[in-house]
């Protein structure tokens, strides 16, 4: 198979890092696809149902995009939606889906997961000066729309009952953001997540010019800014983020 010409050739070690990143991205997109599909099943409003299906299709498209680029670079990604972190994220989502709690599902999928996706894809996209990087940047831009979509909905939810909404976000924050924080924490490098091929990719990010702290920090920054835009009290969200596993 002929490799696509790249602007910036990657060596073997760098390719191993890119493989792990693509594996995480594909697994994450498939979780997103499944979450939106679950949402479509629980929503009564027909237009919102159609929108959820559309979002699920969009996440599927992202997963396929990452799979295609992997093939072009002769990379065989490890796709594992049952991996240590991704399964916990999915379980957390399903807990609220079973309760038909649409708002909670939106907070998990379109705020928490999408903030991490948008920010990390952006950073990875700028670290990789090739077609893989281009794809990450393009998908980051598309995922931004999901965040925008949720902000307006959640603002009106906040305005209708501020106290109850803040309480709900806090509970979901501890449920879901704790998992994402552990996934990106510096001291959680020894557990097998079931997605990375060999050793934890967090230890090798420097090989492609990334640092775990900036990747994680930028994602948390976008998460906080999104909560600010929704209208959550900034002192509360600060307290939540400071208390995450690091």
């Amino acid at each position: 198979m002929q490799l696509i010409e790249t602007k910036n050739e990657l060596d073997t070690e760098q390719m191993a890092v890119v493989k792990d990143i693509l594996s995480q991205a594909i697994s994450g997109e498939l979780i997103g696809m499944s979450n939106f599909a679950s949402l479509a099943g629980m929503i009564d409003d027909i237009h919102e149902k159609m929108e959820a299906v559309e979002h699920a299709h969009c996440e599927r498209g992202h997963a396929e995009g990452f799979m295609n680029i992997s093939r072009q670079f002769d990379i065989v990604p490890e796709i594992n939606v049952e991996g240590h972190y991704w399964k916990r994220v999915r379980d957390s989502f399903l807990k609220y889906a079973k309760q038909k709690d649409l708002i909670a599902c939106l907070i998990i999928q379109e705020v928490m997961l999408e903030c991490f996706a948008v920010s990390m894809y952006h950073d990875i996209g700028h670290a990789l000066n090739n077609e893989i990087g281009d794809l990450f940047r393009a998908i980051s831009d598309e995922e931004k729309e999901h965040i925008e979509h949720s902000i307006h909905l959640l603002q009106s939810e906040l305005n209708s009952d501020p106290e109850a909404f803040v309480q709900k976000v806090e509970i979901i924050h501890w449920d879901c953001m704790t998992i994402l924080a552990e996934w990106t924490a510096g001291d959680h490098v020894h557990c097998r997540c079931g997605v990375c091929a060999d050793q934890c990719v967090k230890e090798s990010l420097h090989m492609i010019g990334l640092t775990l702290s900036s990747l994680r920090g930028n994602a948390l920054n976008l998460y906080l800014k999104t909560l600010d835009r929704i209208g959550l009290p900034p002192q509360k969200s600060l307290e939540w983020v400071i208390n995450l596993p690091a």
Binding site: G186, G217, N221, K225, D228, Q235, L238, V241, I242
Partner: protein, 365 residues
Amino acid sequence: MGNQSSCLKFAIIGHQDNWEKIRQFIDFTRKSKGSASLELEQIKGIYTYIPARPVFDIHIHSSLGIDCHGFYIESFISPDELGPNHLRSNIQKVKDSCNLASRMGADIVALGGFTSIFLESGGLQATRIGNTCFTTGNTLTAALVVEGIEKACIQKGMPLDQTRLLIVGSTGDIGSACVRYFSGKVKKILLCARREKQLKIQSGELRRMGQDADYATDINAFLPATDLLIAVASSLLTDANPNLLSNHAIICDAGYPKNLNQNFKLICPDRVFEGGMGVITQKFHFNPVIWESIYRFPVPYTVHGCVLESIVLALEGIKQPYSVGRGNITVEDMREISQRAKKHGILLTPLFHPDAKQPEPAGIM
């Protein structure tokens, strides 16, 4: 009961100058939720990425019986990133903080420490955003610096008119205000800053007015001949050698972050004081109260001059960008803001050593 009829809402935008204060805040916040303490590297991995936000409310009471309310916005600029390499990202953080202060309805906002660069350099194109006015707070800081020096001279029995005064950062906003104030009051003014061309102009102006003056870009060139030293540069003076300093010199370190290295404080502990600080005699309250422990000085209820300027303007109902640009502070402005502050019980704090731990109401000098 106080009244709030004429009092404006004030805000302060700032940053922390060391990791110890940040560690205290992070530890407190984590312990309140039962979370374990973090290592410094983990704290650094969170702190720098937090977007600007209000972290505590401030209530103060004036000696005229006016209650005033404001809030502090932390810009989350890292103490490790105050250098020129991070200028662009820091300016963005200051911009975000200014917009936030405006959205939160502040009438008058002081830009403390490094963040004042935004107003000094003309970065904030308008000195207002919506109904919010911004000030560097440098006028009151300068007024408190010069008052501190005069007080120290009296305490040490040093006649001001016989002293050679070294001002490090003399071409900066606070530094140039100090030069103006002491012109004609001291025997000689020694000017020190990074840009030689501006030093030459400043020195020439002083000589034309009959004030003996000299200039140098190297602080060490002047230390042996210095009786009084005001440090108001924008960064730590790593090359300064305290062993060259005359053994009677009085030092006022008014930089934020501090300009002088630890050796200065060790060599002459009874002659160094933290300048530009005032005390709110009618006290203040922070909410959450933890910030009263973090923002704490040896003399209780001591506050930076720039913060006090926004409070004084709020108490006085003055909604205008009082201190903006660089080199615009007049001696008359300094007298005016100082008098307005005193009216409300905001006075020069008793002089204290920058590293003093215990409250020392009588001052160290």
